[in-house]
Symmetry: C2
DNA sequence: AGTAAAAAAGATATCTTAATATAGTTTGTA
DNA sequence: TACAAACTATATTAAGATATCTTTTTTACT
């Protein structure tokens, strides 16, 4: 019951970017160093975010990534879906799943309840909420 | 962000057992067939549950597994911890974790909030809630 | 045009979870 | 006490998530 590494890395990247003035451009390799995420893996992650529109990528020299919208308009739940796909906390919650094991499984109701509350909780956060500028003595 | 297969299988087994009169004994191989869980994998799961006291195992001929307590006294959260260990939705929530990536990471507050609500939700359920007898026309 | 810097894409390797297989131990019963 | 039925323990394999590496494509600048 953990978030994936990809989702953690994604938030680290977006959080960092959200702390700078709108339109700021970031190079993957610089980003990787600052947020301590494996460079190549970060590449995949950023590509995926760019496809979804959360990031905008610019290729070639002077290229890089920047946020596609203001942090307050980027929801954490939305990010989650882009990175991990639909939120289904058990495989029996997947769309179209047919259960062979039980004709009247009451766990389904529980899964649904838990999943709903998780979804609702994720939807209360935006990137802005976790992306305020740091005030650190040393760094 | 899924539960593990082991946790799903565990609940299937316990749910099934909870539907029978207290003290009923179940053989692993029978159980495996009914709840459609791989026999050997179920073996490990049941052993683990037996170690924790949620189940009681009896070896030898006529042996098997039975619930250690009444379903209403077995909490879903408790089962979760036995199967998957402490609930930490991100590795930075693990006990003793020291973050190198950020001096003031606001995501931590979000993770804690989400984790608390998940924990609270799990604690509202007991085995009894998901273990009522079936009323199925065909089976 | 040529070169260097950057992202994109695809192939490969590693590590953890899930599943299987095999041999070992305990116990009831004839 | 011998045997078979059950749980126990350990080792091996498979699958999926995580991470890396290499090549290709795009673009700015000289």
């Amino acid at each position: 019951m953990r978030i994936t590494r990809a989702f953690d890395y994604t938030l680290r990247a977006l959080m960092h970017m959200g702390k700078f003035p709108e339109g700021s451009v970031f190079m993957r390799s610089d980003l990787a160093k600052v947020i301590l995420v494996p460079n190549s893996f970060l590449g995949k992650i950023l590509q995926n975010l760019a496809k979804s529109g959360i990031l905008i990528s610019e290729r070639g020299k002077k290229g890089g990534f920047r946020l596609g919208r203001a942090p307050k308009d980027i929801g954490i739940y939305e990010i989650f879906i882009v990175v991990d796909g639909p939120l289904n906390i058990n495989n029996c919650m997947d769309k179209g799943f047919q259960c062979e094991a039980s004709c009247d499984c009451q766990a389904t109701h529980m899964w649904q309840d838990i999943q709903n509350s998780l979804e609702a909780k994720l939807k209360t956060y935006t990137l802005a909420d976790i992306s305020k500028a740091d005030f650190c003595a040393v760094k």
